[in-house]
Amino acid sequence: MLCTAWGNYPKIECKRYKFNTIEELGEIIDSKSPLIPYGNGRSYGDSALAHHIIETRQRDYFIDFDEKSGLLYIEAGVLLSEILEHFVPRGWFLKITPGTKLITIGGAIASDVHGKNHHKEGCFSSCVKEFEIMLPDGKIVTCTPKDTPNLWRATCGGQGLTGVILRAKIYLKKIESKYIRQTTIKTANLKETFEAFEEYSDMPYSVAWIDCLAKGEDIGKSLLMVGDFDSDGELDYRLKDTKTIPIDFPVFALNSWSVRAFNMLYYGRVKEKISKQRVDIDTFFYPLDAIGDWNRIYGKRGFTQYQFILPKESSFEGLQRILKEISNSGKGSFLAVLKLYGKANNNWLSFPMEGYSLALDFKIESGLFELLDRLDRIVVEYGGRIYLTKDVRVSKDIFEKGYPNIDKFREFREKNGMSGVFESLQSKRLEI
């Protein structure tokens, strides 16, 4: 069977295993390793790809909810969308959510995902009270930052390389509306964009859409969107039917012209310098989920998302160089997302650090990986790093420069018998 992740690249031959009981899981780990846990297949690259994968999506029971503290106890295969579906109408929302609701809780922990409120609330692990994980020897450990700090630091952001996460307790946050009061700020260049991020840094949610094909003076022109929940008591929330993209687009459909046109329309749509809107949860947090399988617009060959982060002090200079490089290459991206992050946490492989991150999609085509290699060099030159959950091609050398704790992670895996048992294409490439 062919397996792939969200980028549709690469596609590899693989065997999928499901388990109905803990005993079955133990046997699979014993007899089928090396393998890697696989949730809902929304990581972009090869972090959850291997020739043997263990599916966790079907483990989707809700176990308990404490109305007082907002603590929700669920199995690791539960999707964020399922939590929203049942809990938004009751006035609860995820404390931390990435830009898609179609990921599992296990995946959220293993990627230590972050969202538009990273500068305020940090990564997903900061809303996790504890999780249960099966280790290579079949033992199930309840992991907390206090009792098992190393297992915590290795697993949150650890890309599934420490074991199979089975259940978790996470805190939800109280909301009084399904609507968000959004302010959109139109900026003319990178300097203005940075200033706007700083000016609005008190807003709980913020993200910018940036036009990566802009040239010269215009480099860095953006739409910064910031917002917070409304308080009008309107909580009627239902999952919407998604529009679907039934076929892979032909590979030539996306080229620098069509992307340029899209970017121009998108940017030009906003007339005023500052405008205000009231939008619902799905529009604000999950705009792309409205189109099922949107990854297919990149055609059969697939795509990758390049996401890096630079330390705050070097962000301005570094980003300018990188944007210039991208703009000169003419390789377009529909979605380029810029965000100012808060402080890094202690997890060994978590991506965020205080600074600016940029994420862009590229369809797989000749010349792309050379371009990304050039970008890599700029990223490490400025002390930045690459996000493993999106990555499919970074070199070991570049990766290591960005993650100073990598040797602790390696040592921990070695010492606990995880190496060789849990492996992905990515972990092999990067020798982690």
Partner: protein, 243 residues
Amino acid sequence: MSYVLIIGANSDIAKACAREYAKNGYDLYLALRDKDRLNDFKQDIEVRTKRAVKLLELDILDFNSHQGFYNSLDEKPLGVISAVGYLGKHKEAQKSLKETRKIIDTNYTGVVSILNIIANDFEKRRSGFIVGISSVAGDRGRKSNYIYGSAKAALSAYLSGLRNRLYESQVQVLTVKPGFVATKMTEGMDLPQRLTAQPDEVARDILKAQQSGKDIVYTKWIWRYIMLIIKAIPEWQFKKMSI
């Protein structure tokens, strides 16, 4: 009256129906042979939806127990969904009457036995809905599973007759004909992805068809047309085919 009774509640389709109905505001009676198997699932639905879920013991093959089972429900259900299904081991059934009987009695006799009792009550009170999950396998007998298929064909005919009888009493009878569904029953089979439904998709189709008063629903919908074609193949040709 807020309860929907789901029979054969341990199947993947039944569980998906349970979640779908609970989500839409119904309380649930979940009936199955070994009720302790669904303790965690009961809790799952309660945490998700805050609806009431009661687990009930019911052996579909113990026909004599069925009347007592229904009598024991203090509050009668406003509708019933039978998701009882047993694919069985076809090769074994060709040789053994025991396996053949098990397939027929589970898929047909047992379901008829319990639905007769429920239908009588619904007819008397002149309200309710009865959803029977049959199968496209009942639309035409094929060599790979015709014992299961014939039991489902009988069930489809039963539901058709029941619908005819209960029309006067405003009781809805819905026949559900799933094609391929990715469940425990079909685990390990190499099913074509585009024709295979997920259980929650089947459950959504069932709820929608039931709420809009339909008689027969294929799920995925494309199976209506696939079966039209398969039924149209002349017998002299069909007998030579392996599909």
